[in-house]
Symmetry: C2
Subunit: 226 residues, 2 copies
């Protein structure tokens, strides 16, 4: 019997990397999918994606340029006229929110899954211990699962796996270390591509995870608040 296939959306960050390793541990043949969406750190994330794929021995890779995101903008991750917040995580949807990014990513991954006859998509969304993006919730993912199955061929039956959705950042670090996920290859910083800034929301969440897991982060930072 042919091995079942999983299309794994992989940003190059910690969360989606752990998600891909968990799918591999479940026995899936992994198809790695990465999007360059005109974000500030796209070159670094692209390199991280390929390094992680190499580590996981992923042969089928789709690294798709989504330059059109730059024509929409409307996010601090894309529009350099909007500052990336560095003062600590606040309530509400932050300026780094990219309108409906995960809806777009899941839709494109669906097309790839339909082509490749995959049966599951994975995405590294985290609901609680996160930046508060509306497209990272269980309710959204459940609805998208229905939409995807209604809008594709009858024989295409897709499940969206969100193995991290209920985890804390501490658990993500702990699970990653237990599974020897190559965290040194991952990149989380929203604004820098060489030394991580240490103060954007994404760096703060990552550093909090390592601190609570009593572990040290293998990547280098420009500064940290701790």
């Amino acid at each position: 019997m042919a091995q079942k296939k999983a299309v794994c959306i992989m940003s190059g960050g910690m969360d989606s990397t752990l998600a891909a390793y968990l799918m591999r541990d479940e026995g899936y043949d992994i198809i790695g999918v990465h999007f360059s969406y005109a974000q500030r750190t796209q070159k670094k994330e692209y390199a991280s994606f390929h390094a992680i794929c190499q580590n996981l021995h992923i042969k089928t890779r789709y690294a798709l340029p989504l330059d059109f995101f730059g024509m929409i903008g409307a996010s601090a991750l894309i529009d350099t006229n909007i500052a990336v917040p560095t003062g600590g995580i606040e309530a509400g949807v932050p300026a780094t929110y990219v309108p409906f990014r995960n809806g777009i990513f899941l839709s494109i991954a669906t097309a790839i899954a339909e082509k490749e006859n995959a049966e599951v998509l994975s995405i590294g969304v985290v609901e609680e211990d996160s930046s508060g993006y509306p497209d990272c919730t269980k309710a959204f993912i459940e609805s998208m699962t229905q939409s995807i199955n209604l809008g594709t061929k009858e024989r295409t039956r897709l499940r969206i796996a969100t193995p991290l959705v209920n985890l804390t950042k501490e658990e993500i670090v702990t699970w990653s270390l237990q599974r020897e996920v190559p965290l040194h290859l991952t990149w989380s910083c929203y604004q820098n591509e060489t030394l991580a800034c240490g103060v954007c929301d994404s760096c703060r969440l990552r550093l909090k995870g390592f601190a609570r897991a009593n572990a040290s982060d293998p990547i280098a930072y420009e500064q940290t608040d701790a």
Copy 2:
């Protein structure tokens, strides 16, 4: 009070053009959105989009290049190794189906609508009198509406207008003629960019609509079966 905005997905074809005119007649300020998705006739459709926008006095236009579709392929509209069927419409999903195209289009249009504070998206899907694509059904559109509203900011409330979903091609032609929609500017052919082929499913549906409406199509054909 500011005029309400509608994001209209406009392929350059008859259906989505009539949909945009109907939205204009409902009083919306139209934002025209067009996608070039590596399809065979992308240059012609791009030109049609701009000509129709000019006719409708649409100032805000997003013509987005989605070249990544070419890296997925899996459709006769994109992969030139897959022939466009010309023998007449058959049962089932045809080779011209582009995996989850409308899911991807609606997701990107959602990001634009969220940026532009629009309250409605229009798409020219036709359910019954059509090629039989799974992403053109009312059930899919209803589910996507829910997904879109769950996956965007709380204040973003979007409706998807599908004013043509229950129409026949005859009705689409009749309604267009009644409203002076510039059908001479529209393009439907799946494979040619100068003279329409007349025998692909899209040409056949269009020609059937004109024939049943007792009207003549203002565009030129290479051949017709009639």
